[in-house]
């Protein structure tokens, strides 16, 4: 295997970004090919990691650990590693970014900066999923803010500037709460071990907190406070109602390729952080908060679905459907059962593909018709049959059609919440049933929207619109194919995540 594989994966996009900076901005095609080439090489590297990943092992693999900065008592390490939780998400980042770069080839203005920022964003995202040191995690987490701000505010739609500032402030506040929780975690662990273990390492902290002697020193209210702070921080990214208000603006105003990244990958950072850090370090609090998180999940599902139902803008509809779908992740996570957490990870990956495809389709249609208003679209299956077909397929995947990835993940998550022990979530079944109702609404708004756009009366002016270009087939087939692959052959994913999920659940003891 390649030595320091994870470092290569994380920083290769940055190398590409620097390379692009060195190219004159007129040579747009060279810039595009470098961006695509960089992302493809990163993708290949991450596939190598996926292949080399030992599926029978639950701990960290491809570990890299170097002492970095000395803070007096604390020592910051450059710690990288992947386990069954981060491996699929790592691959998700490289896949979505590669396809998003392909989808962004139609960006005409300021090409050089666009691809530079996308590649910097890629580094940030990859770093978040492999960092095993809280400082490093925080660094990469913050690093994603800057490119997204620029990507929305330069290449976005009409209301781009308020949207980008809103994104920045909301997520900045989220990070602020997060870093406080991180340092509180590390410092309280340091204090509780009688000032002998100063560490920012996630698994070392998990060991300290699970040590019964140490746990006794730390009060429950303190741990609950830290857990809540982490929940708030990750809730902004995920997003969880009511910290979601930045999302519709950001998703809608962002250009297609960036929407794909935001919804497809960026939102996963929140759920990943919740599982890796909150659940990893404070498993006992995960049990205490299970009902709360499950209720938040149901609220997300229902609220997202209801608001999506009344949207007139197709892109906004997908933004709210994204909120709704991530509620399912929360349900699965809250159940603290194997099926539930596996379903949550499945849903993260599956939603990543599907929502990226949906945003891509909306972008492609907007490019041709210049409108996203549902009532102004209609009969697309006649004017642009291929695009309409893929959009329909994406919608089907999103509402959980068997055979596609959405079905597997939702099924697993709901099995999880149905099977949750009554001690952890008292009314688990009620919650599950209410959540399932939300799924019906999902079907309602998606099918209704599809009926009004792909079918229905065709507007004469849309006749003769060009159908899918060859370049557009790459993201369309790629994303749908991946969704189909997971749908018909789920064990390709479950093989990787299984051992880690069992490990997480056994630590929680649910």
């Amino acid at each position: 295997m390649i030595p320091n594989l994870l470092t290569w994966i994380v920083f290769f996009p940055l190398v590409g970004a620097l390379l692009i900076l060195a190219i004159p901005r007129e040579q747009k095609n060279a810039i595009r090919s470098i961006a695509a080439g960089t992302s493809i090489i990163t993708l290949i590297l991450s596939i190598l990691a996926w292949i080399g990943f030992d599926r029978s092992q639950s701990g960290m693999q491809f570990v890299e650990s170097y002492s970095w900065i000395n803070l007096g008592d604390f020592q910051i390490y450059y710690d990288l590693g992947v386990d069954g939780l981060s491996m699929p998400l790592l691959l998700l980042v490289t896949l979505i970014t590669t396809l998003s770069i392909t989808a962004s080839f139609n960006i005409k203005e300021r090409v050089k900066e666009y691809f530079t920022w996308i590649l910097i964003l890629m580094t940030g995202l990859l770093g978040v999923f492999v960092a095993q040191d809280l400082f490093l995690f925080f660094l990469f987490f913050e690093l994603t803010l800057i490119p997204v701000f620029f990507l929305i505010s330069i290449w976005g739609g009409k209301e781009r500037e308020p949207a980008s500032i809103k994104f920045l402030i909301y997520n900045g506040l989220g990070s602020a709460v997060m870093v406080m929780a991180f340092i509180a975690l590390a410092y309280k662990a340091f204090e509780a071990t009688a000032f002998s273990h100063a560490t920012f390492n996630i698994s070392a902290l998990a060991d300290i907190f699970s040590n019964p002697e140490v746990s006794g020193v730390l009060t429950d209210s303190l741990k609950a406070g830290i857990f809540l702070a982490l929940l708030i921080a990750f809730a902004v990214k995920l997003p969880i109602i009511p910290l979601h208000t930045w999302l519709p603006n950001a998703y809608v105003e962002a250009p297609t390729g960036v929407s794909m990244m935001l919804a497809g990958v960026l939102s996963k950072m929140g759920a990943y952080g919740l599982l890796r850090i909150s659940y990893g370090i404070l498993p006992d609090q995960a049990v205490n908060f299970a009902t709360f998180i499950a209720i938040l999940g149901v609220v997300n599902i229902l609220y997202g679905a209801f608001i999506a139902l009344v949207q007139t803008d197709l892109k906004k509809l997908i933004a709210y459907s994204s909120i709704s779908h991530l509620g399912i992740v929360l349900l699965g996570v809250a159940s603290v059962t194997e099926a539930g957490i596996q379903g949550a990870v499945f849903q993260l990956v599956s939603h990543g593909f599907i929502v990226a495809l949906l945003f891509f389709m909306v972008g492609a249609i907007y490019e041709r018709t210049n409108t996203r208003t549902i009532s102004e679209l209609g009969g697309l299956s006649k004017s642009v049959p291929v695009l309409a077909g893929f959009m329909l397929a994406a919608a089907m995947a999103s509402l959980g059609l068997p055979g596609l990835s959405g079905f597997v993940s939702e099924l697993l998550a709901f099995i999880g919440i149905f099977g949750a022990s009554a001690e952890i979530i008292p009314a688990a079944r009620v919650i599950a049933v209410v959540g399932a109702i939300g799924i019906i609404f999902t079907a309602a708004y998606l099918l209704w929207a599809m009926q009004r756009t792909t079918f229905g009366k065709m507007d004469e002016k849309y006749l003769g619109l060009p159908d899918a270009r060859p370049m557009e087939y790459i993201p369309m087939i790629g994303l749908l194919g991946l969704s189909l692959l997971i749908g018909v052959y789920p064990s390709i994913l479950s093989d990787v995540i299984n051992t880690t999920v069992i490990d997480i659940v056994s630590k929680i003891g649910g």
Partner: protein, 484 residues
Amino acid sequence: MSAYNANWSLMTPEIVLMILALVIFTLDFMTGMSRNKPFLGRLSILSLLATTVLVAVFNRETGQIGDMFVVDGFAMVLKIVILLGVAGVIAISMYYVDRHRDVYQGEYYSLLLFATLGAMLMVSSADLITLFVGLELLSISAYCLAGFKKYNGKSTEAAIKYVVLGGTASAFILYGMSFVYGLTGTTSLVDINEAVPTLFADYPYIMTMAIMFMIAGFGFKISVVPFHMWAPDVYEGAPTPVTSFLSVVSKIAGFGIVLRVFFVGFESVYDEWAFIFALLAAITMIVGNMIAIVQRKVKRLMAFSGVAQAGYLLVPVATMVSLDMTMSMITFYAVAYLLMTLGAFAIITLVTEDTEDDALTSFSGLYQRAPYLAIAMTIFLLSLAGLPITAGFFGKFYIFVGAIQAEMLWLAVIMIFTSIVSFFYYFGIMKQMFMRDPKPNDDQTLSVPKPVSAVVTISLVGTIGFGLLANVLTNYFNNLQWFF
């Protein structure tokens, strides 16, 4: 130890700098009235670099001259920071004075060098008298510099305001010092430190008052709220390179004196004064960041940004766990602050001079006009805002860790939330640079003179370099003996 057998070699850098400053002063007379004398600027930079080397050589060993003048790790590091900072300021000034023929260059450069000498004396003194002499040498030179564009109303206004308020602040400091002397009978900081615990027990009100007077005076010099009112006006009116001098060198030297007085002279009664600094830090961060949001002029914005940054720097003063760690935090952040602020000011000088406008909109379309400057400015602003991968990000994180370790959660919370507030105005400048088109009457490309681009590049490398390899500095600081 008498003055005859003292180890005078410790003072070599100061003596050499003074001689060089006088030489430059004299050279100015000898070369007539012709205004453009770039060689004086180059010579000044060389003198500063030479002095830096001397500091690194002669100040490596700790030592003292009769309790008045000490050389220790703290003095050495701050002297190097100050000297390099002034070298950067002079590089920026060379571009500036070239465009402003009403500036007498010889005096300008030698005044900057004298101010530097004062700053060096300040950070090296262990006695209230030497300390005050150094402070006044710095302050008086700075008053002159602020009014250097003497035919410009705003510059004159700035100088008058600065001299009146600065003089008042000095009076406050002296008044506070006189109480301390009256009670302890000594001006040596080390002796004061031994005497104050009992004095605090006997005369708590007088001691507290003395400390408050000094804090008010020093607070003015480092522009913390509520003693910051002069900063925006003076920063706006003063020639831009002088503004950068005030906001970088003068402020860092001011911090040097605060740290020296309080951590050497009053260390034994830390608990009596720490909370005052905590309160000051809190209101400074809140007010500085809030008022910066509404600023429309870039120099005023930087003034309030500088106020806010002073607030961050005060946090470790108020949250000491161990002296070494506090010093390490402050010094790291001071280095980061020097790099990012100096780099930003180099670009601000260039842009405001080029567009002859100091509104924020003068930055519009900078990316089209000078992509390198826009990218560099972005990095400096990200560093000031505390975002990765920059020295400012790590510096803030470090201070933050310290605040939580000292269990000053409320201060940590204020610090982090006001940092988020600062995103508004720092990203506002970025918005101008990247998302607005250049104004029609500005040149399409902005040519960057060599000295300015050198300052920008060095600051840029430093800002990113210490962001990635912060361990280089922290390791060095961890092994340093801060105070003699």
